[in-house]
Point group: C2
Chain length 248, copies 2
């Protein structure tokens, strides 16, 4: 029934998943990048997204624990360095905390993750569990949303600097290194998936993994939209702008 | 700092979690029970909730796999019988499929779970993973939302029969056995938690587990509200009423 794709066809099919499902198409991002949110809404985004940032190296370490080759683990290890830092230059988690502080959140409140939406927690945890439980091919394919991220980052930085007086280039320092890190990581993962997904079943598994990961990102924005844009239905215990977590 | 609660104080604290966070307080349930939804919205509820029903015995089997006493496993086993059936009387999953068919969904579409919201999948999977990973005490405490379910079921059956011409008592056959099963299960789990949660840490863990479970239920309704009530933002690939899954 299903035929085997050439590696270029597989790449095109993976890119088509992004075109259909990547979260740059979500209305929350359109509001965020368009400067249409208020400070409390931007805080809610930064607060919830922190949980995602924080779990990424846990996801990567889970994957590395399953890689049988030193070469592969070494290549993947750069992601840990990017997110956790090297003890001198701050890593992605630390830079995200700066972003959260920059939009007026209290660092300890952010780090506690006490105010995040249940929907955020469940989506992020789903990603970590997926990488723990599925095949290595699927785990690596699920990282391929990075193929689409340079576009969204450029859009976001430009839009947020223009749209929000309370945001500076310094606040957004998280994103700059990502513009080179994400393509490097995506190139590596894409080459792996193109080389290893050879049967129709493996190719479908890789595409399914990328769809799943798009769902993980999408669901987080769904949660933010419902709670903080419309109809502003905040789950019991979650962050309420102006009441919780403000440093100033 | 924290003092040990008596077992009656612990029960009151557990009930207070329900009063604050149980999903009968969610606007989606108020619409559902008040007869305010259209048929497509009721379908979306039945379709998504099927995934929860289907994973419950997997959750219960995961828990039983961790119970070291035949007595405890035997007591818990009745839940498997309730959900999976005994081969003659239909179990809860089968009765839920009848409900889904009763509101006009195609059985195979429902069973495929292809149309459920990512938010539903992540919340339900979070529950199964919680029961796999946390202490047995927390796993059992997370089932205590059943303490609150007879009230919501009575409200739901009455409200749905009155509010929706396309719903009959037969369609709602799922719920009738639950009115006796849920209190029996909740009594057992509550007695276990009251007996085993003796230190302040154990008591806080039990309360946290119940809060977590309330979040699992709440997040599912958040997803339904966003996609099918307001602002009707359906995640790519998920059920669209009138387009997908209809049997008639």
């Amino acid at each position: 029934m299903t035929k085997t794709l050439t590696s270029d066809e597989l790449e095109r099919a993976l890119r088509a998943v992004g075109a259909e499902r990547y979260h740059n198409r979500h209305p929350f991002h359109q509001l965020l990048h368009g400067g249409k949110l208020d400070r409390g809404q931007v805080q809610a985004w930064a607060l919830n997204r922190y949980y995602y940032q924080r779990q990424i190296p846990i996801k990567d370490a889970s994957l590395m624990a399953r890689l049988q080759s030193a070469e592969l683990r070494r290549a993947w290890r750069s992601r840990l360095v990017d997110h956790d830092g090297d003890g001198s230059a701050p890593g992605g988690i630390e830079r995200w905390l700066k972003l959260a502080e920059g939009v007026g959140l209290d660092r300890a409140y952010v780090e506690s993750t006490a105010g995040i939406l249940p929907t955020t927690r469940f989506a992020v945890d789903a990603y970590v569990n997926f990488v723990r439980e599925r095949s290595v091919l699927e785990a690596i394919a699920s990282s391929l949303t990075e193929m689409f991220s340079p576009g969204i980052i450029a859009e976001r930085v430009e839009g947020m600097l223009r749209g929000y007086p309370f945001i500076t280039m310094d606040t957004l320092a998280y994103f700059k290194p990502r513009l080179s890190q994400a393509p490097r990581d995506a190139d590596f993962a894409l080459a792996y998936v193109k080389a290893e997904a050879r049967t129709p079943e493996q190719q479908e598994a890789a595409l399914g993994a990328l769809r799943f990961k798009c769902d993980v990102l999408w669901s987080q924005l769904d949660g933010l939209y419902l709670a903080y844009v419309e109809p502003r239905l905040v789950a019991p215990g979650a962050f309420v702008p102006g009441r919780d977590g403000g440093s100033r």
